[in-house]
Amino acid sequence: MRVQAFHLGHTYLPEHPVLHDISLDLSPGSLNYLIGPSGSGKSTLMKILFGDEPIQTGQALVGGWSLAHLTDKTRPYYRREVGFVYQDLRLLPAWTAEENVCLPLEAIGRSRRAQRSRAHELLHQVGLGHHLRTPVAQLSGGERQRVAIARALVHNPRFLLADEPTANLDPALSDGVIELLNEQRQRGVTLLISTHDHQLIKLFRSQVYEMRRGIISRHFTSQLGHREGESLSQGAGESSHV
């Protein structure tokens, strides 16, 4: 699914704009990263692209959807084509991992059997096959994060937004998650992942958008490399301002 943003701007509080003139063009099946310091507006941009925040200025097109024209009626249908791993995960702590992962399928009325088999498949993929019936409240931070990732993938979205999906994971698990997400590209899924872990972007060839104070300050193609202590600027290749 192609994702385009044109001159997006956003303000939460008057006089304090969070995004200025953001433009993006993500090709179908591409892997894209959003990096940048805390507070630079990464989550805000992702929320706009998920329809959580309204479009205030500019326009965004995702597949056939014009986000400026989403209404309360159409938004749920848009979200059925998109997956989102929230930074705060948004899981239901009293529900089991399986119940949490099944929810997007429950909302579209899939049969219980279909829900279960799909949820089990994904929970096994993220290494939580032994925690299907465990309430999320009893899982570790990293395990919860993986439940959230499984939930974002369960309905086969064509555009996946992941807001710091590896924040609570150790390096090995982080790489595993990125590999899992990267596999989705075979189905033409467009990925947009925000991260503070600059080692991650070297795992696969990807487009990297660096944000600073509400603008995209740099856009470059990442180069492959191994996880080590080196800094991001050395791993960065061509660089251009957008």
């Binding site: 948004r90 239901l92 429950e106 909302a107």
Partner: protein, 300 residues
């Protein structure tokens, strides 16, 4: 809406109710307590209606005639009264007739021999035509005075008197029934809207998560409505059950009533019960829907 979504909604409703089991009981008990008051009033008026129906049959005026009045005098009196416009019918009961009736009602003939029937009074039952307005009632009272002034007449009682008092009582309760009904209805709606608010507050995270995974507003709201409807239905069913089991279990009261009034109180008719439950269910649904949509509007 597809069958699958409907099935999911029902499943979510039941799961949601099971997750907050205690709250369910509190709400149902609250509704049941309030609805019992209304059900009791309904039951009372229902039985008063039955009672007055039963009593409506029978003479309107009972004229007791002095002992020693001759047969011709009876007939003259009867003929005179019969000429009055408002009088539908009048029937004379001689002491002999009265005795026969007494024997029949006692199912014995031991009174047959040596019983002086002259101790029984002769009576004249006068039935006024059914369509009597208030004005005509006045006239009837005037006629009543006339009758009591006739020489042969000893006393006159108005058969309607007790019935009229019964009617008054019924009217009074009928008014109170609606006041109580409205009060209970409002309270039930209040309980539901508070409950739904509480429920949504407890579940705001769930609502948030549901809407972020592509659930429609219907999908989010419907379980709350169904829950409200189910609670209202169970609450009013319990109220009916409470009231009717009290009625059928308090023997002493029932026996007193049936001895005094020759009347056995009966449970609410099926039609009335079903209406009561449906109405209550509707109230619960409306209140839940209103509260839930207000909440969602405030959220967005």
């Amino acid at each position: 809406m597809s069958f699958g979504v409907l099935r999911s909604i029902l499943r979510q409703t039941l799961l949601g109710m099971a997750r907050r089991f205690t709250t369910q009981w509190v709400v149902i008990a609250c509704v049941a307590a309030m609805q019992s008051i209304f059900a009791a009033t309904l039951l009372l008026t229902f039985n008063l209606d039955l009672l007055s129906d039963q009593w409506e049959r029978g003479g309107d005026l009972l004229v007791f005639i002095k002992p020693g009045t001759t047969q011709t005098e009876y007939e003259q009196l009867s003929a005179m009264i019969q000429t009055w416009e408002e009088v539908e019918n009048s029937s004379l009961k001689t002491p002999r007739d009265a005795l026969k009736e007494l024997q029949k009602s006692l199912d014995t003939d031991f009174l047959e021999t040596g019983f002086d029937d002259s101790v029984l009074p002769a009576t004249l039952e006068i039935e006024f035509s059914a369509s009597t307005t208030d004005e005509e009632q006045l006239e009837i009272r005037a006629k009543l005075l006339q009758i009591s002034e006739i020489d042969e007449v000893e006393a006159v009682t108005e058969g309607r008197g007790l019935l009229a008092r019964l009617y008054e009582l019924r009217e009074l309760i009928a008014v109170w029934r609606w006041i109580i009904g409205a009060w209970v209805g409002l309270s039930v709606m209040f309980v539901f809207s508070q409950f739904v608010k509480l429920n949504l507050h407890q579940r705001r995270r769930e609502v948030e998560v549901l809407s972020s995974v592509g659930a429609t507003k219907t999908f989010i709201l419907a379980p709350l409505l169904i829950e409200g409807a189910l609670q209202a239905m169970l609450g009013s069913l319990s109220a009916l059950w409470i009231v009717e089991s009290v009625l059928s279990n308090q023997r002493v009261g029932s026996e007193m009533i049936s001895d005094l009034l020759l009347f056995t109180p009966s449970p609410l008719s099926l039609r009335l019960s079903v209406t009561f439950i449906l109405f209550s269910t509707l109230l619960g649904t409306i209140a839940s829907w209103r509260a839930a949509s207000l909440f969602l509007k405030g959220r967005e």
